[in-house]
Symmetry: C2
């Protein structure tokens, strides 16, 4: 898949799926209902059925990454689905109306110049594979669903990465966040 | 509605609706099937029925506009639905894979530094009201649907605006475009 292709994905939490949900914590705002397993499905998935919740989002073109950053990312970003990456995290977040009311240059300045979001992510490559899904424009309860995959030996590094982002200026605009950890 | 709110709209071409379709021309790539009238509906609309075609898109936050430009736009942008604005245009466009493979700074440079897209639009305010709808991420046949409203006496100015944009560097990345003109 091209990194800029737009594809819909559904993350369904319930009693089925290849991933065991080992932990789910509300970091900001409301959490999600209990689910023991997760399936990730490409394409539309109806809500309800056996699922406790279904979160939908689409992959898309980059919105902030500049050319030099893109080249650095492309040089060290691992693919999803590595055999050794048996740990994962699904982190749905919503940003405040104040964030969405900012112009493009103001959001970029907070995201990278002040918060170093892209640079921090680069430090944890190639250990942590990452895929961003957009959902605000679908009328979903969250704005973004980020999916991460890593080996058990990189779990501490992943916690460090998440901690650095949460202490950044950008995170002052996050008004709902759930941290779901998984194992397969 | 907040300019940054995300809302789905459907543009349905067929035999019904308040807008008469007075002209429809394929500027690049394939045109659209014949339709005599257009309705604009907020929310989901099923394809088929009496419609020749249904194009869907969502309003969203700005993707390129910087703070100073945003203030200039806010100072002179007219609302949709002015009594005197009895002429409209719906211009669906699709951009090439080469465009979507560019990084954010490369797309911004082509759109504004080289093509003056935002500055050209500002010159035709407050005559021409405009609303952009995004549709690439919905898997639609076009990437953007732009809706314009103006008075009959501003129709020549609108043609000039469209001509300036079509001769810009940015338009080298447009691989499908239909120009639909309407009257009510």
């Amino acid at each position: 898949m091209s990194p800029t292709a737009s594809s819909l994905f559904a993350f369904a939490g319930g009693t089925q799926g290849p991933w065991e949900i080992t932990d789910s914590n509300a970091i900001a705002g409301d959490g999600l209902d209990h689910a023991s397993r997760l399936s990730v499905v490409k394409g539309p998935v109806a809500a309800g059925g056996d699922n406790s919740w279904v979160l939908r989002g689409f992959t898309s073109n980059v919105r902030y990454v500049e050319r030099s950053e893109r080249e650095a990312l492309a040089a060290s970003q691992p693919p999803l689905g590595r055999a050794e990456a048996t740990r994962a995290a699904l982190i749905p977040i919503r940003k405040s109306p104040a964030w969405w009311d900012l112009a493009q240059d103001e959001r970029r300045a907070i995201l990278e110049d002040q918060s170093h979001h892209i640079e921090i992510g680069l430090r944890y490559l190639p250990a942590v594979a990452r895929q961003l899904h957009h959902c605000r424009d679908l009328g979903e309860p969250f704005d973004f669903l980020t999916w991460f995959e890593f080996a058990p030996s990189d779990a501490n590094a992943f916690d460090e990465l998440v901690g650095l982002l949460r202490s950044s200026e950008e995170w002052a605009y996050v008004d709902r966040e759930v941290d779901i950890r998984l194992s397969r």
